[in-house]
């Protein structure tokens, strides 16, 4: 038996390189990506909606609080006005010994640029 000589051309015809499947493409199918995005989108939508609702409730609460504070402000304005009523203040002032000033007790304050000076009515009339 003699060895068959190596036939280079024949070997080349039989052997070929097969293209392998990519690793990543094999693990996650495109539809899974779509589903994943849809789920994330759905959850995001729910989260956004919940946040929006919570904000709306917060807003309603704030508006209620503003209304309460406005009512309180009105009430305080009323209290101040009642306390400043001359019919309440005048008798108290009299009790404390205060009197309504008479004309001759008036004091005029000269606010000229040279500086404020206090001038009595009598002094002004004498000067005139």
């Amino acid at each position: 038996m003699t060895a068959r000589p190596f036939q280079q051309g024949a070997t080349e015809d039989r052997l070929r390189v097969l293209k392998g499947r990519s690793r990543s493409g094999g693990l996650v199918a495109p539809w899974m990506v779509v589903v994943l995005i849809a789920v994330i989108g759905f959850l995001g939508l729910i989260f956004a909606r919940t946040s929006l609702d919570n904000s709306a409730f917060d807003l309603a609460e704030l508006e209620r609080s503003i209304a309460e504070q406005s009512a309180l402000n009105q009430q305080l304005s009323l209290d101040i006005a009642r306390l400043e009523n001359p019919a309440r203040v005048a008798p108290l002032a009299e009790e404390l010994g205060m009197v309504v000033p008479i004309s001759t007790n008036q004091i005029l304050v000269d606010l000229s640029p040279s500086g404020p000076t206090v001038v009595s009515v009598e002094a002004r009339e004498e000067a005139q």
Binding site: D53, A60, Q74, L78, A81, A90, V100, S103, T104, L108
Partner: protein, 589 residues
Amino acid sequence: MATNRSAKRFGADRVRIAIIGLFLLFAWAGMAYRLVQVQVVQAADLADQGLSQRLVARELPPQRGKVFDRNGEILALTVEAQSMYAVPGQVDEPLWVAQQIGGMLGVDSDVLYERLTSDRDFVYLDRQIDAVAAEEILGLEIKGIYAHPEATRIYPAGQVASHVTGFVDIDGNGQEGLEYVYDEQLRGTPGHALFERDLGGRPIPQGISDIVPAVPGADLNTTIDLPLQYQAQQACLDAIEKTDAESCWVVVLEVETGGVLAMTGAPVFDPEARQTLNPTCDGSDDPDGCRAFSNFAVRGMYEPGSTQKLITFAAAIEEGEVGVGTVVPDVADVLEVLDGACDSGDSDVYGCYHDFKEHATADMTVAEIFIRSSNVGSIMIAERLGQERLVSYIEAFGLGSKTGIDYSVEAPGILNFAAGCQTCWASAAIGYSVAATPLQMAAAYAAIGNDGMWTQPHIVSSTVDVDGETEVAGTETRSVVSPGTALLMRELLASVVEEGTGRAAQVDGYRVGGKTGTANKLGDDDRYTEQTRASFVGLAPINDPKVVVAVLIDSPSREFRTGGASAAPVFAAVMEQALHRLGVSPDVG
């Protein structure tokens, strides 16, 4: 055998499975039917039902505008109160409930019991009560008793400014005074809200929502000075106590602008306690209190007496008929205008005029006649003027027609010049046959203070809407006499206070001018009575008048029957405060 048993059991199982299958089939079919019925057939109706349960429509009441005085002090404002109500069908023990809360509300328990046992679905127990009191009652947790918020009108100055502000009824509608005249501007525009609510009553986010907010009413800025208003009212109350008068009225005007600084009187009333009008006082247990709400300063007409002489003299001087120094010869203390009038002995026969004090016949200057307030001399001067010109000046000074002040139901006054009346001109020259309001007299004197320029009195200086836009009230002005005549008249008025009948009107530190007036009141039988209306109208400082004060005292006791005795002191007290409040420097030592 085993095969047969197995076959039988298999057959029974198939039957059971078939039955269960059928049951499930029917169940699913039933559910599907119901689903179709609910979701398709009845869908629209059910959706509407649900929506109607969730949907709430409410009217949003506007906030009524505030009323301020010239210094920004609040005269009227609206705050939130609580109104207590009951659903009678839910109240278990009405008698006990009525007794329990009757005292807390200050409402008669019998009245409450009647309401709680009525067959109505809703009854008010008390409206617009304090929030603290409402909470106290709600704290009792009585079934069927509830409260809801409701706006209520408050007047912090109470009775002090009541004659200016007026009042509103329980539903917030203006009834009197500024509240009535400016009701449309004050009340604002209601809004509305349409929204979906959850079980807690909160608006559902993203639900149906249509909200048009209410537009608050405009605020009124007035010319009133609250401390001066108080002082004027106190002066009136003191005068009533001192003179035993029926009433006292004061008007204070700013000369240049016609702004009303104070307008008040006594008796007084509390605007929060009065919410209905009853001018005739029918059925009132308290006629005095009932009458008090009517503002005599604007609506009351009286014969001004000698204060009217200002117009007569100003007209005669303006027309050149007399000067201040003109001598009028033979001025007696009695004058017969109608032949035989003084012979009848009946003082009510018109045509016979007397001076207040008897005096010898003498030549008198125009100034002397004015200072002594001689009726006879005044009529003699008016005779030179003639009725036609006299009436034209009376009208020019604003008597006989409304001043146009922004206050409800102003009286125009009366000019009684009936055709054929032979004495009306003479009566009018001394303040009879003419009826004027205190406000008209104040405006007439203000014209003299304002160099002959009559200015329409007004209370509101501006209105401010919710956007802060201000609308300034306009006023009408007209020239009635020349500045020269006005100056002469001011000097004559000053002489009356310095040496005539108005000495009690003097104010320390200021040169004041004014005129007293004393007019007998007409009785029910149209005959003059012994009762008088005493008045004083004046202005200060006389060299540059800033303020006019008119005082009227109705039916003072005999001791105080004249304007000089009763009205002049009130004038002095009010004028002094007015000058201080305006910061007017004293002009005499």
